[in-house]
Symmetry: C2
Subunit: 238 residues, 2 copies
DNA sequence: TTAAATTACTTGTAAATACAAGTTCAATAA
DNA sequence: TTATTGAACTTGTATTTACAAGTAATTTAA
């Protein structure tokens, strides 16, 4: 479907090690096999292994110590809601419950939260959904998500209650987040938000408009998140 | 003062190219000299040059195109107020005017905006300052900054009106930002903020508490920023 | 004139090799 | 027993070499 140029070796090794870390084969604090061991296992030379480890270290999955080895740090938490993926990874899935307010459905693009849309995006239409996220039983996030409607078979019928949207996109559609832009502002809750968050008049709410770019050119995800920061401030590292 | 281990070659080349970009020797859109040219100029081999370029590309200073060359992107704006340095670099200095509300003075640490302080930090005391930032004549940011009071000669007498605090720390004290953590929340303006921002009752304000870590172990900068997002939303890329 | 092929660039990937420098632990000397 | 030395690991830096693959301008053939 997409012209899958074969992954270079260093990239393959990176993907393998990364998944081993995210899936718990290597746990936090573990010592990674030495570079020479990894060479023999993956049948490549040290520069290739080092390129894979460079990226893992750069992204925070491991920390390297000269003379000791590479120590696993686990999944980088720093990339929280303010810098990367969705609310799921920002909070840690434990306390997060998702209520689907509007099931994923195919719509025309109305607008994209002040972000301009490309011609192609307007033509293809979008998949629209609204979700309410409860942290420890309290409604904290209300988000609207819009995704281009292109070649995502069975997408609208998938279950977004527990899994992260971005995990699904990565796993089933090989779509990865590359970056994006966001606008943050403080607003006063309107009637709808007052209902969702169960708060009174004049309540301040944090609003986050995001355009999220992926590895697929022209495939951008637009999301608008409202946060009640009474009890849970948005937290992130950088 | 600090045990300056000599910089490796790839790091030297990186620093040179980086400063050439930040200081305008190479401007946005320019084509960087080819890797082989850089080799002869800096008297190193291609892998060394490539390591320097890897980092520049990773940080967004350049974009590389196979077959064409490396194109200068300028100073990465993406690392705006939400991910890295101060408000100065987030806005672009043009429209930003700074009023010093409280000149830098030496104080004891009272608290650090909910971030716990280390023993060493408590003992050394801190440099405290408050500033109001006007964008196009309108007050938009109000920030409180606290810096450990260690070996920063003539620091309190420097002029923070126009230059970025982080530029000064980098240039005169070789202190660089490594990362940090932040908490974001929406609040209602109190009396003081209502005065500063010239707004009425119940006005929503975005509050940003940050702990900024540097290359000097134990040297952390704590800052609290209040933003009136009426006209200017906080913008950032990631 | 126009289109295709060649050529000379560019960056991307990969290997083989060498030595420097930090860490750990066991063997040795006091 | 205690402190030191040294060997055997680890990662860090750097060179050399080779070829693959993308780009752009020139040359060649239609």
């Amino acid at each position: 479907m997409y012209p899958d140029t074969p992954l270079p070796q260093h990239r393959k090794v990176y993907e393998i090690l990364r998944s081993h870390i995210t899936e718990g084969v290597f746990k936090e604090g573990d010592l990674l096999p030495s570079e020479n061991e990894l060479c023999t296992v993956h049948k490549v030379t040290r520069p290739t292994i080092r390129k894979a480890l460079d990226r893992l270290a750069n992204e925070g999955y491991i920390v390297r110590h000269q003379g000791k080895g590479s120590i696993v740090k686990g999944i980088p938490k720093g990339v929280g809601i303010l810098s990367m993926t969705g609310t799921t990874s920002a909070i840690g899935q434990d306390n997060l419950v998702t209520q689907i307010i509007i099931q994923p459905e195919i719509r025309n693009w109305s607008e994209a939260f002040t972000f301009p849309l490309s011609q192609l995006e307007v033509e293809t239409g979008c998949i629209y959904m609204e979700r309410l996220r409860l942290v420890n039983g309290k409604p904290v996030f209300y988000d609207i998500t819009m995704i281009p409607n292109v070649n995502l078979s069975r997408f609208t019928s998938r279950n977004f209650a527990n899994k992260s949207l971005f995990d699904i996109l990565r796993k089933y559609y090989h779509i990865e987040v590359r970056g994006g832009e966001q606008k943050l502002l403080a607003i006063v809750a309107d009637e709808r938000l007052k209902n969702f968050f169960n708060v009174g008049s004049g309540h301040p709410v944090l609003q986050l408009n995001r355009k999220i770019e992926t590895n697929r050119p022209g495939f951008n995800i637009y999301s608008q998140v409202f946060c009640n920061t009474d009890e849970y401030a948005l937290y992130g590292t950088f």
